[in-house]
Amino acid sequence: MLSFNILVAVCLGYVALLFLVAYLADRRARAGRLGWLRTPLIYTLSLSIYCTAWTFYGAVGYAARSGLEFVTIYLGPTLVMIGWWGLLRRMVRIGRAERITSIADLISSRYGKSTLLGVVVTVLAVVGTTPYIALQLQSVTLSFSVFLGDAGQTEAPQEIGLWVTVGLAIFTIVFGTRNLDVNERHHGVVTAIAFEAVVKLIALLAVGIFVVFILAGGVGPTLDMIAASPVQDRPVIPSRWITLIFLSAAAFICLPRMFQVMVVENPEEHHLSVAGWAFPLYLFLMSLFVIPIAVMGLSLDPGGNPDLFVLTVPLSQDRQGLAMLAFLGGFSSATSMVIVAAIALSIMVSNHVVTPIWLSARRGGASISGDVRDVIILSRRISIGAVLALGYLYYRLSGGSTALAAIGLVAFIGVAQVLPALLGGLYWRGATRTGAACGLVTGFAVWIWASFLPSFGEGALLASTVFSDGPFGIAMLRPTALFAIEGFDPLVHAVFWSLALNAMVFSIVSLITFPSPMERLQGVAYVNIFRHSEAARGWTGGAAEAEDLLIMAQRILGSAEAQSLFSVSAAEQGKSGYLPDVTPDFLERLERGLAGSVGSATAHAMISQITGGVSVSVEDLMRVADEAQQILEYSNQLETKSDELQRTARQLQLANEKLMDLSVQKDGFLSQISHELRTPMTSIRSFSEILMDSDNIAPEDRQRYASVIFDETQRLTRLLDDLLDLSVLENGQVTLDMVDIDLREVLDKAVATSQMPGASDLEIVRSRAEEQITLRSDPDRLGQVFINLITNARKYCEADNPCLTIKVNAASDGVTVDFIDNGAGIPARDETLIFEKFARLSHEHRAGSAGLGLAICREIMSRLGGAITYLPGQGGAAFRVSLPRIDAA
């Protein structure tokens, strides 16, 4: 019989061996002689931490209770591994490109380096992993007690759990936090785990071969035995079968410890092609003998605990050595899981919880080299201790109950909540941070309610009335029958609702929210990871991604300009589309383009950062780009302002030119007017002097002189009247007296007024029928225009028999009155002048005209809303007066 002391000695020896293996591997790695440490074999074996003590001992118990269903726990990971090309390769590639340190980091980094998401995933991982660690401690303690019970000793096995915890904490702290490698690689730990993988495989295979070939007597008899055993009757339930395969696949991807060994510790991407078949083979071998051992255990010891058949079967046959080997297998399963889980969790806790809090508490400029480094290592060590202490506490509090055994699948469902956010982040650019956070929280809440709390049993944490009637009597929310749908298997129920609601909330919120620029950049980087990086290019050299450059350039240059720059460069390289190859020439050109906007130094820094290969600190780039954007906006504003100034200056210049013109016009007017006044004044003065100085003037002369003076005075008065009239009209001070008038009456009056007695006879031709039109206008002013035109014709028509034809023509839009005489007309070059002030055609100078008549007519007509124009080609001088048709009201 194995005494307790021998057992402890063997355990200590095994642990010492582990320390040695880890130490040697670490030393080798430090010396740079990685060699076999980086082989696909080690990588594949390290994945075996999926097989914990729960699967090592528990699989047999599971098979004894539920038959073939136990195999689903291995089939899920098998499907993931044989499909490595689709998913795992992408995860590993991203993990290396973005220097991902944990699954929380992957999620947080994908969604714009969100601290919130990092914390959520970390909490989820801690809550999901702690019971699992407790489970490992329980299995180790149980396996000890098997030996002790067998040996008749009654040492308190609880102590063992404590010592195992302390031992694991020391190992993990020593080898898990020795260095703060940017890549988070732990060669010592990985090698020790690979070693443990071999131990547990050999142990299980040894027990299995012993059972099949020695106890049962070969393969055939074993199959017969299975057919005769109660295992034969265990049902295969399709919904559970499918759900469990799916769940184990999801957990295999999402478990923090699996992510750690699969992605973070992955040395070479192409190792996946080996692990893609070798790890399923490992799982296959691990489960090959599970049913035979279960069947044998049930037949040998029907009342025994099926979870311990791996130990009790060899012991019952008195195979101490085999039992010892099996014990070590279980021990190594438990320890390897706890070690890696503690490392993975400590990385998450320190990176996503402790460090952000510490940095924000410090507020100072912490230099990354010294102080932060120490803080991180310290927080890692404390986290490891805390995680293990939590696991131990959980184990002690749950009292090693059977509820603990059920926690394995419950924990799987918990960590699987990361799946929608993970897959969405890897394949869907539209996935947003808000969506991921909402989905995670929803899934987490449903998991707690429908799976975690009920796992303690009815009446333990939740009152049994909650199970039968729902919380507060709300039947819709019963933990095992959400939405009042009953008849679900509890496991299927929890998996279905938690993941379905999680995925639904994630998708819907992602669809309706808008991602930040950072999220969008990361989304492109994740989803298009293979488009950027062909494996041949290698990672260390780094590759500037044309698309990344385009995104950055668009932020700085604006989309249109950046796109044209890229497409022109692509065309020059003989490529179609927008993404040219990243050649030095292209980079130079792009840099010049950017330099125009942000200055050459910044442009160079930005480009070299992207092309530098090392994971781009996109955040920094964005900050620079944002600053540049601000500068651009500012300069744009300045440009707009200067445009405005230019416009104003132009307007001022125009106004000035106008003023100058007006001043010239005014000067011209003044000289004209003084000339017009001077001429009659001169003759008045001369004649009045003659009358004053000479006493003896003949009366007829005196009469003549006086009449000249009188005429000139009249002329002056008329001139002044006209000027006054014009100035009133031009200033718009005139008040028009608009009434309904008959055009014929106005014309009659005008003709009568202008028939001055003694003047040369002018024949006026009218067609009175057409003049019968009623208009709305000012009769006095309109009459003034007509009189003026008739008087002009009388004065200037040089025909022998002067004749004036007045034609009225009514159209729909207005009335025209044409005054056509039979004189010589007005030469074409003067036509534009006649309406100007003092524009008397000089050679026609006749007394009594100041040259203001037509100018006044023009002003009046424009006041009346009409016009007066010269009508050429009528066989004499012809003026057309157009009147608007304002109908009588």
Binding site: T78, I226, I245
Partner: protein, 79 residues
Amino acid sequence: MRPPSEPLFVARRGYRRRRLEDAARLMPLLGAIVLGTPLLWATTTTRATIVFVFVGWAALIVISMLIGRALRHSDKPDA
């Protein structure tokens, strides 16, 4: 509107390589079909079911190994 970043037609070796990648992508589907098949007839853990599952599993491992090997082989000249 994104232009194709890879040539539309490739030479025979490239073509074979792409079909290998397709096969690798299809593996989970094949696995799901193989491992889902027992549900069509099995109601309990019978001998036949156990044998079917383990043989199917082994077949998946062998196929995955062949594809993985072929992929690595065709990868070499490029790298």
